[in-house]
């Protein structure tokens, strides 16, 4: 009985998925005429974590560490910012990594190799300011490991001694350990549950590093709470700390101001002035509150999975 249930479930799910896919593909094919952003590689890299290598030769040509793109996957779809995790100028591809947290990212996770992304805009934002600073620490937390990678790589190429710390709640949420090791002089891993690396937070490792080394600069990218904690740890000794913010955006070109953040006395637009800012000056609490403004709407959107019509691409 149990087996039949599983098989039945599998088939029903499969048929629904194929139907959904047919409609989506049809739409994408008819709508994208000139620019095609083809997915050449799709991978699951962790629990609710997906990686896409997307063909976008013009963007790949120009992309620099620290920049991001805006993605839209369906007519009536929303525009979401994603940091460029890697780029290959020769192959003409960029790498995007995302966590399935809302309706759009959940749908994006269903895209497969060979599918197209409807709209891809970039490279946006100011690139990371690169130089030989001496000894630098690159901290990536959770999905923030993706954007820290190209920064660590670029800093290494500039001659810095790169010490990296990557962390996540548990092993299933950790990825790119090998890639990070390749671009770092030293790599530390921290997980909340100790399932891999040191048990504890990235800040625990950072405190230890600060005690043992003279650190010249720190980059931290990850959840807002993590970046805030890192900035608090480095503040007393005034180690330059750069964080990369991921606020809500619409156009990503400075036009709407949805992404405004408070940095010291000034209001900045993360899309054109950032996304990197001085971690000691960012008002993280405000940034966190602004990120949660549409919480109720996000819940409503997720509840509406069985969509009854419209152009959102989910049917």
């Amino acid at each position: 009985m149990f087996m039949i249930g599983i098989i039945l479930n599998f088939f029903v799910g499969r048929v629904a998925y194929m139907l959904w896919k047919k409609v989506l593909l049809h739409k994408v094919e008819t709508e994208v005429l000139l620019k095609m952003y083809k997915i050449v590689n799709q991978q699951k890299i962790g629990e609710n974590l997906a990686l896409l290598d997307v063909q976008a030769p013009q963007i790949a040509q120009k992309a620099k560490a620290g920049q991001f793109v805006i993605v839209r996957i369906a007519e009536k779809g929303e525009r979401i910012p994603l940091t460029i995790a890697d780029f290959d100028r020769e192959k003409g591809t960029i790498t995007l990594i995302f966590q399935e947290v809302g309706r759009t990212t959940q749908r994006m996770a269903l895209l497969k190799t060979g599918d197209n992304i409807l709209d891809l805009v970039g490279p946006l934002g100011e690139p990371t300011h690169l130089a030989n600073f001496g000894t630098v620490v690159c901290i990536g937390g959770g999905v923030g490991i993706a954007p820290i990678y190209p920064i660590a790589k670029a800093l290494k190429e500039c001659g810095n001694k790169v010490i990296s710390i990557i962390g996540a709640r548990c092993q299933n949420l950790l990825f790119w350990e090998d890639k990070m090791r390749d671009v770092s002089d030293e790599l530390f891993i921290a997980t909340d549950d100790g399932s891999v690396g040191q048990k504890g937070f990235v800040t625990d490792v950072l405190k230890q590093l600060m005690a043992d080394n003279k650190l010249d600069k720190v980059w931290a990218i990850g959840p807002m709470v993590m970046m805030k904690a890192v900035a608090q740890v480095t503040k007393p000794t005034q180690i330059d700390t750069i964080v990369s913010l991921n606020p809500i955006m619409v156009d990503g070109t400075g036009m709407c101001g949805a992404c405004r953040v408070q940095v010291g006395d000034e209001t900045k637009f993360a899309c054109v002035d950032g996304p990197e800012f001085d971690g000691h000056l960012v008002d993280f609490d405000l940034a966190m509150r602004r990120l949660s403004y549409y919480k109720d709407e996000e819940k409503r959107a997720l509840a509406q999975k069985e969509c009854q019509g419209g152009g959102c691409g989910c049917h």
Partner: protein
């Protein structure tokens, strides 16, 4: 004869009904009304109306054809000068342009030139599409940066002259402010799409999702083989007041509020994926056309009370009279001689109230308008769910800051010749809001048109 016919009013949706829907407010003339209105034209020997038209439409010529009933000919005449007539017929401030100069207007009311233009453009859209034959190719390539009113006009005119034109647009769809800014109820997006289709038929290519300044620089476009570049990137950087609480959740720029609603279809959430919040009480700061659009949009999104908050008085409001009237009819409330000084929120950082101060008018200032002076001690607090800042916008910095050959004003606008659009850099022309600061659709179109002429001459060298 013509003097006896009164100006024909524009049929419109009932205010009570329309304040709850996004359908177009002004319904347009029918053919009989249009012919009757056209018969009012005196066909002046020296038509002054044309002086008032930034794109130089042959106004009396097309009106004569409407009066005769030859709408096809009328459409041809308009399109000879104006690639976006259905847009202009709807959003141009005719009262301060063509209609302002109409001789009839001296003693009576001017001919409703804008309404006639719209009628002809809409009539033409319903006809079998005519084949457009592009002229002989000149072999010259022009890049147009920004697919808003200035860029579209420049692109259309250059294509008509046989140049190969590519328009680079940052957003996922062309149209600029016509798509993201002006609401559906004032300018249906199908009308904009139709006009863009026409420009495509002229042979213009569109590259969406292309942020010039990031993906390519203007200099790279010139190196890549474009013989000239027109920059029409608009006024895309919203101003805020720099007062406490401005970054609370619920305080929008007009650009964000309107872009979410228009371009991203947030009014259809959750069928569309972009959310928007318009609570029960919405205050729009400012009194220009964008402010009126925002206040009227708030009503349509379900706000029970929608306010225009403006620090000067009624007579200084910069919006078109027609827009103010429409807003009033729909129930928008006007809080004049008032301006916010602080926004207050709850523990979640969501806006709850705003503190305002009253103003009185003093002596005229540099703009010629009487200067508003704050009245000490007149502060009061009002509950509010959302605020929309519609106090203007600066030039978008992406092209100016990535093109070292350009000269900029102290505000960051591109310095360009008023007649030709020529910038400080050879082969680079600019026009529209990026040069003048935030203005109107038709002025941007006029600048695009002048630049197209100048670029044509430049390419002939």
């Amino acid at each position: 004869m013509s003097l006896k016919i009164p100006r024909n009013p524009m049929p419109a949706q009932d205010p009570g009904k329309r304040a709850k829907n996004f359908q177009e407010v002004a319904l347009g003339y029918d053919e009989n009304t249009a012919v009757l209105e056209a018969q009012r034209c005196l066909n002046c020997k020296k038509p002054l109306c044309m002086q008032g038209c930034p794109v130089e439409v042959d106004i009396p010529d097309f009106i004569i054809e409407v009066a005769k009933g030859d709408l096809k000919k009328a459409a041809e005449i308009i399109k000879g000068k104006n690639s976006l007539p259905a847009v202009c017929g709807r959003v141009c401030p005719q009262e301060s342009q063509c209609e302002k100069f109409c001789i009839l207007g001296k003693k009576h009311e001017p001919v409703a030139i804008g309404r006639l233009e719209r009628f002809v453009a809409d009539w033409e859209a319903k006809q079998e599409a005519e084949e457009v034959y592009p002229p002989e190719a000149t072999g010259k390539k022009v890049a147009v940066v920004g697919a808003g009113p200035a860029g579209l006009t420049c692109a259309g005119d250059l294509a008509k002259l046989g140049h190969e034109v590519t328009v680079f647009e940052a957003l996922h769809t062309p149209g600029g402010v016509l798509m993201y800014g002006i609401p559906e109820f004032r300018l249906p997006k199908d009308v904009v799409r139709r006009e863009i289709e026409y420009i495509k038929k002229l042979g213009v290519k569109f590259e969406n999702n292309s942020v010039i300044g990031k993906l390519f620089t203007v200099d790279e476009l010139l190196e890549e083989g474009f013989n000239a570049v027109f920059v029409g990137t608009g006024a895309g950087l919203p101003y805020f007041m720099k007062i406490p609480g401005e970054n609370l959740n619920g305080v929008y720029s007009a650009n964000e509020f309107l872009t979410r609603t228009n371009l991203m279809c947030a009014y259809d959430f959750p069928n569309s994926c972009t959310p928007i919040k318009a609570g029960q009480k919405v205050a729009v700061i400012g009194a220009g056309n964008v402010a009126m659009d925002s206040a009227r949009t708030a009503l349509r999104l379900g706000a029970e009370e929608s306010y225009i908050v403006y620090r000067r008085s009624e007579s200084e409001m910069p919006a078109r009279h027609e827009e103010i009237e429409h807003a009033e009819e729909e129930g928008v409330k006007f809080l004049l001689l008032t301006s916010p000084v602080e926004f207050k929120g709850n523990a979640n950082g969501n806006l709850e109230s705003m503190v305002c101060i009253r103003y009185e008018l003093g002596e005229p200032d540099a703009s010629g308008r009487r200067k508003p002076i704050a009245i000490p001690g007149s502060e009061f607090e009002m509950e509010i769910d959302n605020v929309v800042m519609a106090i203007g916008q600066g030039p978008n910095p992406l092209v100016p800051t990535s093109t070292p050959g350009l000269k900029l004003t102290k505000w960051g606008n591109i310095v360009a010749d008023e007649e030709t659009g020529q910038t400080a850099q050879d082969g680079v022309f600019a026009g529209g809001d990026i040069v003048t600061g935030a203005a109107t659709v038709i002025l941007a179109m006029g600048a695009g048109k002048k630049a197209a002429k100048a670029i044509h001459q430049y390419l002939a060298k």
